[in-house]
């Protein structure tokens, strides 16, 4: 690594291992300093190519820094810092190391200039995220973590196969736009891998499955990195792929539909991740500069406000131990600060004017408009209404207001509030001064979010969504149910596969084994018997000696039931050996 460039991911991944050796204040200081250092490092990087290494005859690029990768690196490092502040009170080194490794791997993926380094960091992300889920150390978390591993191993292998195929066909491993190869197997495999990580339905059921099972603090990290690095990868490799336009729009609606049925607060938010990523995927598919800028900007804003939302729900979980909306209510009296900060995030995700979502989500929607796609525009706007419905209305209503169940609560630990405050500030700053973000986007921005038409239309949309909410309030009462998603196939299906392998396949292997046993023993025993007889008479001394030794040995040990045959076989076998050796050497 040249002096001008230290990989920010390395700062986190290697630096994380300092943590187990510190205590108390020093440890907390390191926890904050590491992501802060990484953030500063990201800001100092100038666009260029760094960290090139030769491996297997190919160029592996660890530091491809351009506007796209840099803007993602800023937000990744920033949310890592926020997340670390949020986790200061947690006394589990393993979680911190896993979280920092996860963040560092995401930074690595963003700066990867070729497929090999991308794959390395991809797998590292999957591993550390799975570990993060598992570290809740509860049976449900272990099961969900293991399913997470399975899904991401599958995605990793799709990526691997796609990379190998691509390499075989083009001789190159560099990671760039793949549209020249559209339709080829490599294209599809790599796309599928990215789509799994972006939690695109039907491949995304792992997200609402795993995220609610993690600890309150781990979930903040989980929401940020896997899906957004996949969005980055899609922007890099699949910009303009038509199929993503419809898929993204469908995804945006899908998340919103499932969220209506959700009772678990964080699972509801997880479905909203799917919904918001749908906007980004749609933007990637639209492919225009405005659309790609929008996808990037929305990813940036989303990381921050989603972290804020999860931090709020996590704070409630931390203080009350509750996760289901049907159990919550009346917390506004005892957790007003949490509520206020949460609402900042809710307004941000709902694209309320003066908050971050307003200036980012609308870029994608406008791009749909400019590309003359009314259906997409309507779908995305519908999803916006749904977003406000759930995160801005349903969740806060049932969590903080609603039925007063006399829950005893207080504000969460101060570091959690500080972290939430940081994220809230960012959401407001971007919303009030969008040029701060716009100036970092990959393409030049001509877009003006604050137009009268836009502001009034948005206010109308949100306001009348609230009306609909209150009209149908009873319909929305949370019920203690789970909804089936595509993870059914490997949760129920997994049991079926296990039965198959343990049953049918084991029987098959047993019969193959028996066939070969019978054939081998009959065939060889017969020939052996002949040879053994000849040698017994022919070469007494050596043969008997060896036979006696092996017989002695076998007598010392506990034999299995077929004693006679075994002893005979031993003697005979030794005879063959001796006979062959003699034939060869003493000729």
């Amino acid at each position: 690594m040249t002096p001008e460039w230290i990989h920010p991911g390395l700062v986190l991944i290697a630096g994380a291992w300092i943590l187990p050796f510190c205590r108390g204040r020093a440890k907390r200081a390191v926890m904050i300093l590491l992501p802060a250092a990484a953030l500063v490092d990201c800001f100092l990087i100038q666009p260029g190519t760094y960290g090139v290494v030769r491996f297997l005859g190919q160029e592996v690029v660890f530091g491809r820094a351009d506007r796209l990768s840099l803007v993602f690196s800023y937000v990744f490092a920033l949310v890592a810092l926020v997340g670390m502040v949020y986790s200061l009170h947690v006394n589990d080194d393993a979680q911190h190391v896993a979280a920092l490794t996860y963040a560092g791997a995401a930074l690595g993926a963003v700066f990867a200039g070729d497929f090999l380094s991308l794959f390395l960091f991809w797998e590292l992300m999957a591993l550390s995220a799975a570990l993060l889920v598992l570290l809740r150390r509860r049976p449900a978390a272990s099961a969900a973590g293991f399913r997470y591993v399975l899904v991401h191993v599958f995605a990793g292998l799709c990526l691997f196969a796609g990379i190998v195929l691509h390499f075989t066909q083009t001789g190159s491993l560099s990671f760039g736009n793949l549209s020249p190869y559209a339709g080829s197997a490599a294209f599809t495999l790599i796309l599928v891998a990215f789509l799994v990580n972006a939690a695109v339905p039907p491949l995304g059921a792992w997200l609402p499955d795993a995220y609610p099972e993690a600890t309150a603090t781990s979930a903040v990290f989980l929401t940020a990195f896997t899906t957004k690095s996949a969005v980055y990868a899609l922007i890099r490799g699949f910009a303009g792929a038509e199929i993503l336009v419809w898929w993204g729009a469908a995804m945006a609606v899908y998340g919103v539909v499932y969220a209506v049925l959700e009772n678990d607060a964080r699972r509801l938010l997880a479905y909203h991740i799917i919904s918001q990523v749908g906007y980004m995927v749609c933007g990637v598919g639209l492919g225009t500069e405005l659309a790609l800028n929008g996808a990037t900007a929305h990813a940036f804003a989303h990381i921050l406000y989603k972290a804020l939302l999860f931090m709020g729900a996590g704070a409630v979980l931390q203080v009350t131990g509750l996760r289901k909306l049907s159990d919550m209510g009346g917390l506004y009296k005892t957790m007003p600060v949490t509520l206020a900060l949460y609402m900042v995030g809710a307004f941000a995700i709902s694209a309320v004017p003066l908050f971050s979502g307003f200036v980012t989500k609308s870029m994608v929607v406008s791009a749909a408009g400019e590309s003359h796609r009314p259906a997409i525009y309507l779908l995305l706007t519908l999803a916006s209404s749904g977003t406000f419905l759930h995160t801005g209305l349903k969740l806060p209503y049932y969590m903080f207001f609603g039925k007063d169940r006399g829950l005893r609560a207080q504000e969460p630990p101060r570091n959690m509030l500080v972290a939430m405050g940081l994220a809230a500030v960012a959401c407001v700053v971007i919303g009030v001064a969008p040029m701060v973000l716009y100036s970092q986007l990959p393409f030049r921005v001509d877009y003006i979010p604050y137009t009268v038409r836009h502001v009034t239309a948005t206010l109308g949309l949100l306001g009348f969504t609230a009306l609909g909410f209150f009209l149908l309030l009873e319909q929305l009462d949370p019920e203690p149910v789970v909804s089936l998603d595509t993870d059914w196939f490997y949760r129920r299906g997994g049991a079926a596969i296990q039965k198959f392998t343990q049953g049918a396949l084991a029987r098959l292997e047993g019969s193959v084994s028996r066939v070969s046993d019978v054939v081998m023993q009959r065939f060889v025993l017969d020939i052996g018997a002949q040879l053994g007889n000849i040698d017994l008479r022919g070469v007494d001394a050596i043969m008997e000696g060896v036979g006696r030794v092996t017989e002695e040995v076998s007598r010392d040990l506990t034999l299995t039931s077929t004693g006679h045959v075994q002893r005979y076989a031993l003697v005979m076998a030794a005879g063959i050996l001796a006979g062959v050796a003699l034939a060869v050497f003493a000729w």
Binding site: V452, T456, A457, L459, G460, L461, F470, S483, L484
Partner: protein
């Protein structure tokens, strides 16, 4: 005023603003024809909300929901 009254008042303000806005400030143009419908955002907001809730609940009741312990083996 009760919260409900506040809400209705706000909604009226939004709707009026939406209808009046494009006439007072005609600078921006719309992408599509339906955006020129008066109070388009408000109408679509209400429609979307109702649609989402009703359709999702239907899907849930008919197909997707199961008791909480469905996956516990």
């Amino acid at each position: 005023m009760t919260p409900k009254r506040w809400l209705y008042a706000v909604l009226v303000v939004f709707a009026v603003g939406e209808i009046a806005g494009p006439h007072l400030f005609p600078a921006d143009h719309a992408h599509f024809w339906f955006e020129d419908i008066p109070a388009w955002g408000s109408i679509y907001g209400l429609v979307s909300c109702l649609l989402i809730i009703i359709v999702s609940k239907l899907l849930g009741k008919l197909w997707l929901t199961r008791p909480e312990n469905y996956y516990d083996s």
